[in-house]
């Protein structure tokens, strides 16, 4: 009875994206902490997470089981370094990414909350 809400695509995707946002916050914290570490390469959430998630929603990819898709961190070696020590962190773009990430997380918590509220309304019949 309750399953449809917890298994709905929206709810599942929001949960997965929240995991990713939490991990991205970890990566950004590491990047800003190491903004002056020689040779440090910035971390980011692996881009194959988003593509896997998308293809699982569309039902086109190899992974149809959404629960098995987990975000992971990778070193970003593509961003060019503007410094002689090889470090490719730019504090301002990290801060920007962090704020964006926080807003995204806030939004996702709203989505999850909304799903739970819907369920509560269905159970109690009270639209509050």
């Amino acid at each position: 009875m309750v399953d449809p809400i917890f298994n709905s695509d929206n709810y599942q995707i929001a949960r997965k994206l929240m995991d990713a946002a939490m991990l991205r916050q970890d990566a950004i914290a590491s990047n800003i902490a190491n903004a002056e570490t020689p040779g440090y390469k910035r971390l980011d959430v692996a881009s194959d997470f988003a593509t896997q998630l998308r293809s699982s929603v569309e039902g086109t990819g190899a992974t149809t089981d959404m629960a098995s898709i987990t975000p992971s961190l990778v070193k970003d070696t593509n961003t060019r370094s503007t410094r002689p020590d090889g470090n490719n962190v730019e504090t301002d773009s990290e801060l920007l990414a962090m704020n964006k990430n926080t807003v995204e997380y806030d939004y996702l918590t709203e989505v999850v909350s909304y799903n739970l509220k819907q369920l509560r309304m269905a159970v109690s019949g009270n639209p509050s």
């Binding site: 946002a21 939490m22 902490a33 992971s72 961190l73 926080t102 806030d106 918590t109």
Partner: protein, 141 residues
């Protein structure tokens, strides 16, 4: 998993930057100290950071790891200080020259700005991480 993600990484960085600010303060305070405890002019101190591996985040093949920083060492800058002719100075040598500390105000001010900006950046990471944790606690309310 921490409730406030990345807080351990940031804590290390905050600590390191604060030590750096302390050292800058010490350098500026001693910019005119011609006689230290060892009887020699003050030597400028420099801080170097080192990486602290906290945890392996990626798959084993891909070595993406969350790193924090900590103060590696505090060393003396051994470049010779400026020699100023001032025979009336109590620390003047037999030729009337005083060796001043090798503190360069411009370097120190730039270092101070860099350290405090880095500190601020890390603080805003803490703020955002906290906001995320608070939002997570509000789920379902």
């Amino acid at each position: 998993m921490n409730l406030i993600s990345g807080i351990d990484v940031t804590a290390g960085a905050l600590n390191a930057q604060k030590t750096r600010l302390d050292i800058v303060a010490q350098n500026i305070a001693n910019a005119q100290t011609t006689r230290g405890p060892d009887g020699l002019p003050y030597q400028r101190k420099t801080v170097s950071f080192e990486t602290e591996l906290l945890r392996q985040a990626g798959s084993p093949g891909n070595a993406a790891s969350v790193q924090s920083v900590r103060v590696g060492s505090i060393q003396n800058d051994t470049t010779p200080g400026q020699r100023v002719y001032d025979p009336s100075h109590p620390d003047a040598d037999s030729n009337g020259y005083v060796t001043m500390p090798n503190v360069n105000m411009a370097y120190e001010m730039v270092d101070m700005m860099t350290a405090s900006r880095a500190y601020e950046a890390n603080l805003s990471v803490v703020k955002n991480a906290k906001q995320m944790a608070m939002k997570a606690l509000e789920i379902g309310k």
